[in-house]
């Protein structure tokens, strides 16, 4: 009897959070999935059931595949260099005592400032004639690049800027994770004659596994969500060369008012994210629950 009461009490603790969770995460997803099977755009102002029409049209649409390609490139190219350098810097900082705060802050402050502010700054930096990037490159004899204005470099310009923004954040997480690695292990390896790289490859790398997992998941989510910098720096262009999935969804919903297409893209994105979740939990599930306990 007391047990039953306890259980219901537990639900009470959950209900407020659960309410908003349902209202702003799960209900919208269900509604959006339903809408993705409807035709709903500027010339068809009320949703009309249309089966898989939206998906078929997307399949045949060049821009869709370009956007998916760009998103994929963005995610994979950003993540691994960022994680690697974040770990390296975390290790380097961990080994220094003097100047630690200075290093932490200089790497971390970009994370603090709004992406919108960083975007403004980098638009200026990438400016072909007024920006310091081209000016500095010119001093090395490299011709001025179009950066945001050229379809060859626009995506890379965004990737570089996103890297600058996120590096410090992951570095800090790794730094926290490193606090749990026992110094004695390093001592032992040093005594065995292992050099710096070897020590860290054999000890640090495996031991920050759980942290790496956390960083990986966070990084994937962060890069799939990129929007602000696209919107403010290139608007997906030129020629959709820097268009990625969340921006594309925005374009279709709020620029072209094709809600049918926007919701079908949303459904696809949600499926991708859920699949990633399954994979990550599947492979690393035990580790997560282990470390969470």
């Amino acid at each position: 009897m007391h047990e039953k009461l306890e259980q219901y009490r537990a639900y009470l603790f959950l209900i407020p959070g659960l309410f908003f969770l349902l209202l702003f995460t799960y209900l919208p997803i269900l509604w959006s999935t339903w809408l993705s099977f409807n035709r709903w755009n500027l010339l068809s102002p009320k949703p009309k059931f249309a089966g898989i029409e939206n998906f078929v049209k997307l399949w045949h649409h060049d821009v869709f595949w370009l956007v998916m390609k760009n998103s994929f490139i963005f995610v994979t190219v950003s993540i691994f260099p960022t994680m690697f350098l974040a770990l390296v810097f975390a290790i380097l900082i961990d080994e220094r005592i003097k100047g630690r705060v200075y290093y932490i802050y200089s790497l971390f402050y970009p994370t603090l400032i709004p992406m919108a502010a960083a975007a403004m700054l980098w638009v200026y930096i990438y400016s072909p004639n007024l920006g310091i990037l081209n000016t500095i490159l010119a001093k090395f004899g490299i011709p001025k690049l179009g950066w945001l204005g050229s379809s060859d470099t626009s995506l890379w310009a965004l990737i570089i800027m996103t890297f600058w923004k996120n590096l410090g954040f992951f570095m800090l997480i790794y730094l926290a994770g490193l606090q749990n690695v026992s110094r004695e292990l390093y001592e032992a390896a040093y005594i065995d004659g292992a050099g710096w790289w070897k020590r860290h490859a054999m000890i640090t790398f495996p031991l920050v596994g759980p942290t790496s997992l956390f960083v990986l998941v966070t990084a994937i989510i962060l890069t799939f969500r990129v929007f602000d910098q696209i919107h403010l720096m290139t608007e997906g262009g030129p020629g959709n060369s820097s268009n990625v999935i969340v921006y594309y969804i925005y374009e279709n919903g709020f620029k072209f008012f094709d809600w049918g297409r926007a919701t079908s893209l949303t459904t696809i994105l949600v499926l991708i994210l859920l699949t990633l979740t399954l994979i990550i939990f599947g492979i690393f599930g035990k580790r997560i629950t282990y470390s969470a306990d």
Binding site: L43, P45, A138
Partner: protein, 430 residues
């Protein structure tokens, strides 16, 4: 617990303060600032003057971003059942607004003002984009422009010898397409693989607008006036696009896809000798350029030609009649000779009211800055800007394909054909 209660109360107070009701007629006015500078301040000043002269009307000017953003906001508001009372959007969007059945016709108001005689005060070139297919007038010009050619007189003088040797006059800008190429070639200065000075910049971003100008100069157009028949892929337009590709890829006298809002910076910074740009950029150049510069008609091909640009006032359905009347009063106020002139001087847009140019302050201003008359004079050769339903989608089709051709990713032929196809699909509602 108490702290949280205090915070909640504070929040509630804030929220309620934010929604105080008022007894006057209250107009929500969405507008884009299509040009640079502290024009938000100018608008606020004009609004304040209007409110002083009309104590029963409150206007809340909502700066909604650039043309794209403003149109998106307006569309979202209309579709959400919460339209603004009056808004300025880019003129090509008229048919989209009409397709949403969101605007009221202004014919009645214009009749009250004197009908044709009233309209005669305004430049005909600017009224072209105000009519719906039913012949009724749905827009009223406010911030209007045309693209023009800006040229750096000092750079022309510096290249005087070379220009004269080529039979060109350094004291005037090119007058036709062929001269454009020749001048640009001479005015481009390279050092190794660095271009220190471009002869010309045709900016990206609104390159569809500039392309429409080149199309008109060649006696063609992009979409017919009915907004339904696409004529994007035509021999004349192909010639224009080939010219652009030649300038950018072959001769390299023009950078590829310089972003729209950076182009004036390049001109001011001495990066280019000439640029195509909206007359609306003139205020910024006037204030910050440290060299002698001029403005001119865009060089002709078969004739001088240009689309107009900018934004018109539109008054919306779904608001109380008294709001609509008040909105018209506001639109009328903003386009009086005095106000239109003031707006023109501050922004670089053309004064939509012909009588603005008879005013003493305008005359004095033009004496100092004769460049401001160029866009107005070019109106003699101006056509309405292209309009179509689903304009955002169409514009996207045009710019992505133009961009691809200019970057050398598609042949001009393919770019025009692809864009043409997409535009037709967008109009059909695919």
């Amino acid at each position: 617990m108490r702290r949280k209660a205090l915070i909640t109360i504070a929040l509630m107070v804030f929220f309620s303060l934010a929604s105080t009701a008022s007894a006057k007629v209250s107009l929500k006015f969405f507008y884009p600032v299509g040009v640079a500078g502290p024009l938000v301040k100018v608008i606020n000043g004009m609004v304040a003057k209007f409110e002083k002269e009309n104590p029963g009307i409150d206007v809340e000017p909502v700066y909604a971003g650039n043309y794209n953003q403003t149109m998106q906001k307006v569309q979202t508001a209309v579709l959400g059942g919460n339209p603004p009372d009056i808004a300025v959007v880019e003129i090509s969007e008229l048919f989209s607004l009409l397709a949403m059945d969101s605007l009221i016709p202004l014919d009645k108001y214009i009749e009250q003002e004197g009908g044709e005689k009233f309209l005669a005060n305004f430049y005909k070139g600017f009224l072209g984009n105000a009519y719906g297919r039913d012949g009724k007038i749905y827009g009223f010009p406010f911030q209007r422009s045309t693209p023009i050619l800006y040229w750096n007189k000092d750079m022309f003088a510096a290249a005087g010898e070379k220009l004269k040797a080529a039979g060109l006059d350094p004291s005037r800008p090119p007058d036709n397409w062929d001269e454009l190429v020749e001048y640009a070639k001479i005015l481009t200065i390279r050092e190794g693989n660095q271009t220190n000075q471009y002869g010309l910049i045709i900016p990206g971003g609104w390159n569809d607008w500039i392309f429409e100008a080149f199309s008109r100069q060649n006696g063609a157009q992009l979409i017919k006036e009915d907004g339904l028949t696409v004529t994007f892929n035509s021999p004349e337009n192909l010639e224009a696009l080939r010219l652009w590709v030649k300038l950018m890829q072959e001769l390299k006298v023009c950078p590829v896809l310089r972003p729209w809002n950076i182009t004036p910076d390049d001109f001011i910074g001495g990066v280019t000798a000439m640029m195509y740009y909206s007359t609306g950029g003139m205020a910024k150049i006037r204030k910050t350029a440290k060299f002698n510069w001029g403005a001119a008609f865009q060089p002709k091909r078969k004739n001088y030609g240009t689309p107009v640009g900018g934004g018109d006032f539109h008054i919306f359905k779904g608001i109380p009649k008294e709001n609509q009347d008040a909105a018209w009063k506001f639109a009328k106020f903003m386009t009086t000779p005095e106000m239109a002139g003031h707006w023109s001087i501050e922004s670089g847009y053309v004064a939509v009211n012909k009588n603005s140019y008879d005013r003493a302050d305008m005359k004095a201003f033009l004496k100092k800055f004769p460049q401001m008359t160029v866009a107005r004079d070019q109106l003699d050769y101006a056509y309405p800007k292209m309009m179509a339903v689903n304009y955002q989608l169409i514009r996207n089709a045009m710019t992505t394909n133009l961009d691809a051709a200019l970057e050398g990713k598609k042949t001009p032929e393919k770019a025009l054909a692809d864009a043409h196809k997409l535009m037709e699909e967008a109009i059909k509602g695919q």
